[in-house]
Assembly symmetry: C2
Homo-oligomer: 299 residues x 2
């Protein structure tokens, strides 16, 4: 089954206690694709500027990622600059230059409209609605968002939330969306608003998945050295959606394993800047870490 | 195998969003005993004032808890007053009257000195050292402490830490003790200082147990309605030590299950003020919740 992702493509300038990179390729759509490509074909819709060098993401093409939905517009690629604090759980945005991303209006190519799995990466909820209106009867729609849209475009966001199957959030976002502190109580509240499944990412505390008839508590993988947390959420989503897109049945076992595969791919992603670790990651390494996660929770 | 616990006995005045109680029995030694008594005989050393009514804790006697080590001193029982914030994860201490607890110097009765399992509840580390010097070749020693002693009596605390087998902390305390943010990295640092096993409690994020050759990620039980978090840490310790005291072999399976039993008993404890829930708790309810925790982490 094939996946459609709509999101940002960026050149990131990132500083962490482990080093610094300038204008390195990133953005939600690419982190998602790099992760999902281990499991299923991915089609990407996004925009880059004339300064974007496609050789940077040549590895994606070799892994069943279709980049024909990437438009090249006159101007510069979206740029983001950030600095992580010493504990890596907080960061300051140093600059955001939207550039060609400012007028991004996703135009879904005809041959992408029947993709079965749709991932709406973190962009303006009005654009996410346009995407939902363009696709034909997908099997599963998955939404990511951020506090910026929760406070800034609440009405459009509420409509997207009411129309998707799965909502992936972090613990701060679910609190902001519901005003409820305890994640499992907040999750039940959100299930009333449309989604059938909620995944709450909690960083080093793991993740919790809640649906009408399931509750899953997933461990975090204890990464030895976090080099750069950028893209952790999108690579989690990529592993999650990718794993599901390869399953015959979307039952609770599949969703639970999808969370574990998301956790695992994200744990590799944060071990390097940009896509360095995901580029050379081998499928058997993924499986080994999944087994370690199983071993960590057995009793 | 029998357990010795040395800690506080208090009359607590507690206000939470769910209600308020005045002068209700509590304290680390009693919360621990109420929890551990489901598994093994417990011997308590502590002090109360003349105003303490032993009928309040009659239920402990009926559950193999020996209270002959509780001294009654002239004066009033230790009193603590606190108010929890709306999210229950923070609290303000409104008052602390040490009363007879101010001069507490645990005198371990002769017939308690050969207890195999020792729990040093959160008291002055100098007193904890006295206890360690009084007991005879225990099978397992387990330590709890708090930030007050980490900053105030560091030298004595470091000595206790170097002499115990298991250290139980919450995530703030382990950060304060090591200056390291990531729990699994901080835990490895603390293992160099003496203890063989570290248990880090993280509230609604569960618990992590780290030893030289094991790493266990335990879920939190999603309690429907937290009424009063007071005693959660001590009832966790009671379930943990109690479970171990009933095992023939202290291998990693036993330690993992001990964390799960600790988590489970603590989850019941917070469903009421004081000991109300632990008083009427049935062994089969404990086992049911342990099975639910297993189901929550299966994948």
């Amino acid at each position: 089954m094939s996946i459609l992702v709509v999101g940002s493509i960026a050149l990131d300038t990132v500083e962490t206690p482990r080093g610094k990179v300038n204008d390195s390729p990133g953005g939600s759509a690419l982190y998602f694709s790099a992760a999902a490509s281990f499991f299923a074909p991915v089609n990407v819709v996004g925009v880059v500027g004339e300064d974007f060098d496609f050789s940077w993401i040549e590895f994606l093409k070799q892994r069943q990622v279709d980049l024909k939905g990437l438009k090249v517009e006159k101007g510069a690629t979206f740029r983001w600059g950030g600095r992580y604090h010493s504990d890596m759980n907080q960061r300051d945005t140093l600059f955001t230059y939207l550039n060609v991303f400012e007028k991004f209006n996703p135009d879904i190519p005809e041959n992408y409209r029947n993709c079965e799995y749709i991932f709406l990466a973190n962009i303006d909820p009005e654009l996410q609605l346009n995407v939902l209106n363009s696709v034909e009867n997908p099997t599963l729609t998955v939404l990511d968002t951020m506090n910026f849209w929760i406070s800034g475009k609440r009405e459009a966001l509420d409509e997207v939330i009411s129309r998707v199957d799965v909502l992936i959030l972090n613990d701060e976002e679910i609190r902001e969306l519901t005003g409820i502190r305890h994640v499992h109580v907040a999750a039940r509240e959100l299930l009333k608003r449309g989604p059938k499944v909620l995944v709450v990412k909690k960083g080093e505390h793991g993740a919790v998945m809640v649906s009408q008839d399931d509750y899953f508590f997933a461990p975090a993988y204890p990464v030895e050295e976090v080099v750069d947390p950028t893209g952790a959420g999108d690579s989690f989503a990529g592993g999650f959606v990718g794993y599901l897109a390869r399953q015959k049945q979307l039952n609770s076992t599949a969703f639970r394993k999808a969370v574990i595969y998301g956790t695992t791919i994200a744990s590799f992603n944060v071990e390097s800047f940009s896509f360095e670790r995901l580029k050379n990651l081998q499928p058997q390494e993924i499986d080994q870490r999944v087994e370690r996660l199983r071993e960590m929770t057995r009793f």
